[in-house]
């Protein structure tokens, strides 16, 4: 995989003093902040975010790319962070739910999710919102059916789907008008 090769290419000859044996140095920008990290090659982006950086907004619902709860934006594109090894992301820009907006300074999608009650337990929600942001940036979805289809990688066991579609459509329509 190109990702694995990338981490090798980026491995500088002399190992940095602080890099423990068996780890790889990576520089990743997360929510605008640069992180220089030394990581074992088997650490996923999701576990890096949740367990090492305490950015627990990205959720783990399966760890297998089957639920979408871990969706983040990598260089602007939505991805399941449980399927990405962190060492393959040297030089990438990552936006997690924490980077989209904060209480008191909500991203329009976050506000629309509250307004439309597009969640119940809230566990799939950060993934839904990041995915919706990715979907809007892709620019392929125009209709409700397209939104529903293209949001189907994000499961919601609480069944908030109709409200999720309402919230996303509201933002899509305001963006289109703008």
């Amino acid at each position: 995989m190109s990702g694995a090769a990338l981490s090798l290419e980026n491995d500088p000859g002399p190992v940095v003093a602080s890099t423990p044996i068996g780890t790889v140095p990576v520089a990743i920008t997360i929510n605008g902040e640069q992180h220089r990290l030394s990581l074992e090659p088997w650490v996923t982006l999701l576990d890096l975010l949740r367990e090492r950086l305490h950015l627990t907004g990205s959720k783990k619902g399966c760890d297998h790319g089957q639920c979408g709860a871990c969706t983040v934006l990598i260089d602007g594109r939505r991805m399941n962070s449980c399927l990405k090894l962190a060492v393959t992301l040297d030089g990438s820009e990552i936006t997690t739910i924490e980077g989209l907006g904060q209480p008191g300074n909500l991203h329009p999608l976050q506000a629309a999710f509250i307004e439309h009650d597009a969640f119940q337990c809230g566990y799939c929600t950060p993934g839904q919102i990041c995915s919706a942001e990715g979907l809007i940036r892709e620019g392929h979805a125009r209709t409700r059916d397209e939104v529903r289809e293209q949001m189907s990688g994000n499961l919601c066991r609480c069944g908030a789907y109709t409200n999720i579609a309402d919230a996303i459509l509201e933002i899509l329509e305001t963006e289109e008008r703008a």
Binding site: D47, K59, G61, C62, Q120, G153, G159, Y161, T162
Partner: protein
């Protein structure tokens, strides 16, 4: 002084309110059980056993222990000792049998049973080492096949507390034999797993001073606290359980799950903080909705009027506990028939014990019964809705007691109108558009309305802020938001001045959250606590110069609005709460109250039935060649008494309907009996509805004032949405295709195989 002629804006019971925890949830600031940052913490990864029954003959931990960062491998051989008697392991649900104890002994009771817990400094080291634990087994004969287990079915002598035995009337056999119209068939529901999006997880914060905080995914912090204290010898002062945010549960968190037991055991053993998170695969090794077999026999006059109802059901359980559900009573409660009887058994298999899942019993029993009713309606050549009305019962037909309220007729009427039911063409296969057959079906939903002892505290500070606390949980139901609305309603405060804290065993007592009772019970407790605060405010108002409220004898004589007490008899007289507190020299008014059914309530509970009703209408479009079924429209009209928050209540129904769509078309845990294991134990192969599956759902709450059902007139909405949604869909599929499917889910293979 504010202008008293100005009509105050009242936000209270009945106002649609955004979730109070919404901003935290949409920004990732809400912390679920596995998301508390705890220093110096160990990661525990559970090793799942490979066989379904037998014993462990050996465990080789050498390779696992050699992984850098591994601290300990706990197995049945080296685990700390725990109490011997079963009663120490009983949880709030008190299921008859021997509660499962992880790492108890070499005996294996089900596939996926935890056989080791690997503890390491990082998650990755623990996960890798867990894959290296080498366990050998001696397998014994097992059975997880439900059909085969029916040969062993029995009625347990010790019943589960929540079980309601059917009450028989007349002679159902004779009436059936003599009936002009008869219908008899066997119905089936597959095993389903709850699969909340958050996996069961625990973070134990070992404080090092003999106390610990257990952040755990569950539906009742205090029940889990008692369970852990009983087993591990902590006092309730030492061990606190927090479930402030719960990523769904649907019943899987009613009982303490094995990861919390293992996490606390490991923390005590290593004297360190520990986090244990199940994998999605491990989410298939515990709670699940029982598989069900239900034979229904209905007799009727030629007109379609029922003369006999006879049900005989079996649900699956484990070999070590007898989980029981109410399956056969729902049809007997709902429909008038002079003769009725029911029988119920459990069938043991070598799996974990089945468990309550959203609307346990009714989601299975009422749903399957409503398919049978649809079949008889066709035999009687009566419209399915008219057929229900023909057999309508104004009283509880099984207990023969009146209801506190039953607005089911109104639900039928409003649901049918919204759906456009009267333009339905009665014949199956008679509606078509393009290559798709269209079918319209309907069904009746039924659930109970309960109210249980719950406490809450209200604390008003001089700055006009109110804090509500109760140990109750919010598993996505909107409990916290509902409590804020009740408080706003009682004390006339704007919601943004009210904060709520729930989900913590240190807070006032609350039972486990389940059965749609949290809003009615917690709401009643909050109302009492706020009324107690209101009484003290009124007393404090006596100290205000000129005593503007001296005419008020009790809080009944004033209106609380806009942070003020206004005299009902003369609205020009008012005192602000802040002024009253200041005049009386009060910084804080704090009151804790407990709402519980009194003697009169308990008598009334025996003489009057308390139920929630619904009418569900479904439209499906079926492409017969592809075997594709789309549920294009659902209308669910619900009679659930008073609705505290229409916004979150609607979402509860939407969620129940979506899960009902899963029950109808997707959800099925498939076992391979050669291995004794669930095979589709992941979210790619255990299908739940996705966004593309869900088209249009309309929720209607019909007006149903009922001051008697619970103190607030609330019946609860957590379960009713799922009940009979699958029946309406199955009935619509029959109407579309002429194919009658009696085994749920109705998957593509069933549709194109017939």
């Amino acid at each position: 002084m504010p202008d008293t002629r100005h009509e105050p804006i009242r936000v209270g019971i009945g106002t649609p309110l955004d979730r109070v925890d919404g901003p935290d949830k949409v920004t990732g600031q809400a912390h679920y059980a596995a998301e508390y940052a705890v220093p110096n913490m160990l990661y525990g990864v559970i090793v799942s056993g490979r066989i379904a029954r037998g014993r462990i003959t050996g465990i080789d931990e050498t390779a696992a222990r050699a992984v850098p960062g591994v601290v300990e491998v706990l197995t049945h051989r080296n685990r700390p000792s725990t109490p011997w008697l079963d009663r120490n392991y009983k949880d709030e649900l008190n299921i008859p049998g021997d509660p499962f104890r992880a790492l108890e002994s070499e005996h294996i009771l089900f596939s996926g049973q935890p056989v080791a817990l690997v503890l390491a400094e990082t998650f990755e080291a623990a996960r890798f080492a867990a894959s290296l634990v080498d366990v050998s087994y001696e397998a014994a004969a097992h059975n997880i096949d439900f059909e085969a287990s029916l040969a062993e079915r029995f009625l347990p002598s010790k019943k589960r507390n929540s079980y309601h035995p059917p009450k028989n009337h007349g002679d159902a056999d004779a009436a059936f034999a003599a009936a002009e119209l008869k219908h008899e068939a066997r119905y089936h529901l597959a095993t389903e797993h709850h699969n909340p999006m958050e996996m069961h997880a625990t973070t134990v914060d070992w404080h090092g001073d003999g106390t610990l905080t257990v952040y755990d995914k569950n539906q009742g912090s205090q029940g889990v606290q008692s369970y852990l204290c009983n087993i591990f010898g902590f006092s309730k002062k030492e061990l606190r359980v927090v479930n402030a945010f719960v990523g769904g549960a649907f019943g899987s968190g009613l009982r303490p799950q094995y990861q919390v037991y293992l996490a606390v055991m490991a923390a005590k053993h290593t004297q360190r903080s520990v986090r244990v998170v199940m994998t999605r695969q491990q989410m298939f090794t515990h709670a699940h909705r029982p598989e069900a077999d239900y034979t229904i026999r209905l007799g009727a006059e030629a007109t379609g009027k029922l003369t006999s109802i006879d049900g005989d059901a079996t649900t699956s359980t484990s070999r070590f506990e007898n989980n029981m559900e109410d399956i056969v009573i729902w049809g007997m409660i709902n429909y008038a028939s002079p003769n009725m009887k029911g029988e119920y058994c459990v069938a043991p298999r070598d799996t974990y014990t089945s468990a309550d899942m959203r609307a346990p019993g009714a989601a299975t029993g009422m749903t399957l019964f409503e398919i049978a009713m649809d079949e008889l309606a066709y035999k009687a050549k009566v419209d399915p809705l008219d057929f229900r009305l023909l057999n309508y019962s104004d009283i509880d037909a099984m207990y023969r007691t009146p209801f506190t309220s039953k607005a089911l007729r109104e639900a039928y009427r409003d649901g049918a109108a919204a759906f456009g039911w009267d333009s339905r063409s009665p014949e199956p296969r008679s509606m078509k558009e393009g290559r798709e057959l269209i079918g319209w079906g309907m069904a009746t939903g039924l659930w109970t309305a309960e109210f249980v002892k719950t406490s809450a505290k209200a604390k008003l500070t001089a700055d006009g802020r109110l804090e509500i606390t109760s140990a109750t949980s919010d598993i996505g139901t909107g409990t916290g938001t509902v409590l804020v609305l009740v408080a706003a309603d009682t004390l006339g405060l704007p919601p943004d001045r009210i904060s709520v804290r729930i989900g913590d065993s240190d807070l006032p007592h609350s039972p486990v959250q389940g059965g749609s009772r949290a809003a009615a019970s917690g709401g009643a407790a909050v109302q009492l606590a706020c009324e107690a605060v209101g009484k003290r405010l009124l007393k404090a108002a006596e100290k205000v110069d000129g005593q503007p409220l001296h005419a008020a004898r009790s809080i009944e004589d004033v209106i609380f609005a806009d942070g003020r007490m206004i005299l009902k008899s003369d609205p020009s007289k008012a005192v602000s709460c802040a002024d009253a507190m200041q005049a009386a020299g009060l910084e804080v008014i704090e009151e804790e109250q407990t709402a519980q059914p009194g003697l009169a309530d308990r008598i009334s509970q025996m003489t009057r039935s308390r139920n929630v009703h619904s009418a569900v209408f479904a439209e499906v479009r079926v492409d017969e060649e592809l075997g594709q079924i789309r549920v294009t429209r659902i209308v669910n009209a619900v009679a659930a008494g008073r609705i505290i928050n229409p916004k979150t209540a609607r979402s509860q129904i939407l969620g129940g309907v979506v899960m009902g769509m899963g029950m109808a078309l997707h959800e099925e845990t498939l076992g391979d009996n050669r291995l004794g294991r669930w095979m589709n134990h992941n979210l790619a192969e255990y299908h739940i509805p996705v966004n593309a599956d869900v088209h249009d759902i309309q929720v209607i709450f019909v007006d149903e004032p009922d001051p008697d059902v619970t103190p607030l007139g609330v019946k609860g909405v957590g379960e009713i949405g799922i009940v009979s949604t699958a029946a309406a869909i199955a009935n619509a599929i029959f109407h579309a295709t002429g194919q009658r499917h009696r085994s749920l889910p109705i998957t593509i293979d069933k549709l194109i195989g017939t």
